[in-house]
């Protein structure tokens, strides 16, 4: 059977790709998608670790994560649309109002 560590390794690779994606992409929508990718990678870890201990709790957690992710996307995309109407861009490098 497949070793647990291999599942975790896949999860780690996907998570890293998502993180790097957040850093290198400038489009807010794509950054969002990368965040979803990272969440997904974590979900994979949850399920793998739970399955290899004959537990169902991991799936319940993933259920919650998916729910939260859905809510996040709904609100996040609404903000994004709003931002676009204000600035006419979704490039996060054009948005630096946080600068002190």
């Amino acid at each position: 059977m497949i070793p647990l560590s291999h599942y975790l390794l896949v999860s780690a690779i996907l998570f890293t790709i998502g993180a790097v994606g957040v850093l290198i992409r400038r489009n807010a929508i794509l950054i969002f998608m990368c965040i979803e990718l990272m969440l997904n990678a974590v979900n994979l870890s949850f399920i793998a670790l739970a399955a290899y201990q004959n537990l169902v709790d991991g799936q319940v957690f993933v259920f919650f994560v998916i729910t939260v992710a859905a809510a996040e996307v709904a609100v996040g995309l609404a903000i994004l649309v709003y931002l676009f109407y204000q600035r006419l861009t979704t490039d996060v490098d054009d948005i630096n109002s946080l600068k002190g």
Binding site: V22, L23, R26, I31, V92
Partner: protein, 631 residues
């Protein structure tokens, strides 16, 4: 009837409150004098009550309230009613009342009339607290209170720079004395655990042996406080400048009452001072030297009020001399008569200034008796009284002091005092003759006029007191006099050995009278007969003249020794410490450090989301690595 004594204290306080908040001239001119007059009447009632008691029971403490009870520091705000405090109370309220009445005329045109009476009433309140308290804490409260009122009243016309500076000077110089006084009182508190007179004076003989170092230091500290408040050497410099204040203030505070607080304090603490013979000698010597010192300065000054100010310092010196030789009743006697005739002369001077539009130079007066007969006539009583001409008030008290000084075994001090008596008679005659007699030396456009009755009536009353005050209190001469008998219960435990009179009392009296006559005679020769021109005398004694007229250069010496170093220190602190260190290094340095740090860290706050995300991830990776390989 003695229980009425709190009213004496409350009435002026009430008056002060009314004057502070009513602020109307019509209110103040009634309330201001009325409360003090009522207090005087009540004090008379209390006196009657006290005299009804047998002499050995004439000391009562009347509790008013307890301050901060239950913390081991129960401070009783209580009044001590005994002949000593009551005598002072009568002087303060009696003379104070007359001066209040006088002020209604003198200050009539001042737009801050109500405030003036607020200060005056407040002063009376503080002075009565000082006098009536039965513990050193109340005395201290009153002590500081009268100091504050003195400051406020000297600087009443604060828009004049001289007045503002004089007020400041008075306050600062007094503070030096007050500092010593505070230490003395706290030292007593540390030893006895209370500041109550009964406890301290009652136990003093058990706690200290005569001549103990501790009691000597304590009494010296108390006496330094007295030199500040009563303008003795070396802290007298503020009193002449205090003449910048309104003249009724000079009469009330800087002649009759406040400056005598030091004398009163020493007399009140006689049980302590008697345990410190060294301090007693210091007190007597300082008193005698101050008397002579101030009298010599008064010889040559031309400002009417300043001559009177130096005269006050000189007369206070007499009182301390008496206190120093243990002649407590004599000191209080002179305090009382001095209050009469010096208040009279100050008010007379004020009347002259009133008539001459503020002129105080005696060489710009002359012949005023024709224009202001009442002022001139009453001033003559003051002149004769202070010169020690019998049977006026000053004769009795001054003679008593000189005789007791001689009898106590201080012939040198007696000689100083006698010489001072001659000088006193001379300078007072000088100003009297120059101001009221002879030809007119003021300009033709000046039209002197007599003051209103509100001012001349108090003059007449004080002239009457100067005339009969001595006879009433000082007869029969010697131990049996009324004032001695009245005050005797206070000093029953007096431990100064009273030696048998060694001098011939009649001879001593004759000498002091002769000195007075001599002084007046010299003044007559110089200023009336003009056998010798005064300018010739001043040329012959030129070094002395310069020394006296420059006030022994004391102000210059103090300026060089105290003011200049103080200014240097302040400049140093301002420039080196405040400017360079605090502003420059501490505050500026903090700003600089913050700026550098901010500059160094500013680029981390680019405002770009991706940069924050990068740093967040960097931190996360660093933490993962840390936990992996360190733990």
């Amino acid at each position: 009837m003695i229980e009425l004594i709190p009213l004496v204290l409350y009435l002026p306080a009430l008056g002060a409150i009314i004057n502070a908040f009513a602020g109307r001239k019509s209110v103040s001119r009634i309330v201001g004098p009325a409360v003090v007059g009522l207090a005087f009447l009540i004090a008379l009632v209390v006196l009657a009550g006290l005299l009804a008691l047998p002499p050995d029971q004439r000391s009562r403490d009347v509790l008013m309230w307890t301050w901060m009870p239950g913390r081991g520091l129960d401070i009783q705000i209580a009044a001590r009613v005994d002949p000593l405090s009551l005598l002072m109370t009568l002087v303060v309220t009696g003379v104070g009342f007359l001066i209040h009445v006088y002020s209604t005329g003198y200050m009539a045109d001042d737009e801050r009339y109500a405030r003036f009476f607020f200060y005056l009433n407040l002063f009376i309140t503080a002075m009565l607290a000082l006098v009536l308290g039965n513990n050193y804490l109340m005395m201290f409260l009153g002590w500081e209170g009268v100091g504050l009122c003195s400051y406020l009243l000297i600087g009443f016309w604060f828009y004049k720079p001289e007045a503002a500076n004089a007020a400041k000077k008075a306050f600062v110089v007094n503070r030096i004395g007050d500092f010593a006084f505070t230490i003395g009182v706290l030292w007593l508190f540390a030893i006895f655990g209370t500041s109550d007179y009964n406890v301290i004076f009652g136990k003093a003989h058990e706690v200290f042996k005569p001549g103990d170092t501790t009691i000597t230091w304590i009494t010296l500290l108390l006496f330094i406080g007295a030199t500040g408040k009563s303008a003795q050497l070396p802290l007298f410099v503020w009193l002449p400048d205090a003449m910048e204040g309104p003249t009724p203030v000079s009469a009330l505070i800087h002649a009759a009452t406040m400056v005598t607080a030091g004398v009163y304090m020493v007399v009140r603490s006689h049980a302590l001072f008697e345990l410190a013979p060294l301090t007693m000698s210091v007190v007597a010597s300082v008193g005698a030297l101050t008397a002579l010192f101030a009298a010599t300065i008064a010889l040559v000054h031309t400002d009417l009020k300043r001559v009177l100010a130096y005269s006050t310092i000189s007369q206070l010196g007499y009182m301390f001399m008496a206190a120093g030789v243990g002649a407590w009743p004599a000191a209080m006697f002179h305090l009382t008569t001095h209050a009469f005739f010096k208040a009279l002369m100050f008010l007379g001077a004020g009347s002259v200034m009133h008539g001459l539009h503020g002129e105080t130079n005696i060489f710009k007066m002359g012949g005023l008796r024709k224009f202001m007969p009442v002022t001139a006539a009453t001033f003559v009583f003051g002149w004769l009284a202070i010169s020690g001409i019998p049977p006026l008030a000053g004769f009795f008290s001054k003679d008593e002091i000189l005789a007791q000084t001689f009898n106590a075994g201080y012939p040198a001090l007696w000689a100083l005092g006698t010489l001072t008596a001659a000088l006193t008679a001379f300078y007072i005659s000088r100003i009297t003759i120059l101001a009221f007699f002879g030809r007119q030396r003021f300009g033709r456009d000046v039209h002197p006029h007599e003051s209103p009755p509100s001012m001349t009536a108090p003059l007449a009353a004080l002239a009457f007191l100067s005339l009969v005050g001595g006879m009433a209190l000082g007869l029969p001469l010697g131990e049996g006099s009324l004032i001695n008998q009245f005050l005797a219960p206070v000093f029953t435990e007096s431990h100064v050995p009273v030696e048998a009179a060694t001098g011939n009392a009649d001879l001593l009296t004759s000498i002091s009278v002769a000195m007075g006559v001599l002084g007046i005679g010299v003044a007559w020769v110089l200023y009336v007969a003009r056998w010798i021109p005064a300018s010739f005398v001043s040329r012959v004694f030129k070094p002395f003249y310069i020394l006296f007229s420059r006030k022994y250069f004391v102000d210059e010496i103090y300026h060089a020794l105290v003011v200049v170093p103080a200014v240097w220190t302040a400049e140093f602190l301002f420039k080196a410490v405040d400017h360079a260190m605090i502003d420059g290094v501490a505050i500026g340095g903090a700003v600089e450090v913050m700026t550098l740090w901010s500059r160094a860290l500013r680029w981390t706050q680019s405002g770009y989301v991706r940069s924050y995300a990068f740093l967040t991830l960097l931190g996360a990776v660093a933490m993962v690595l840390f936990f992996l390989f360190r733990l």
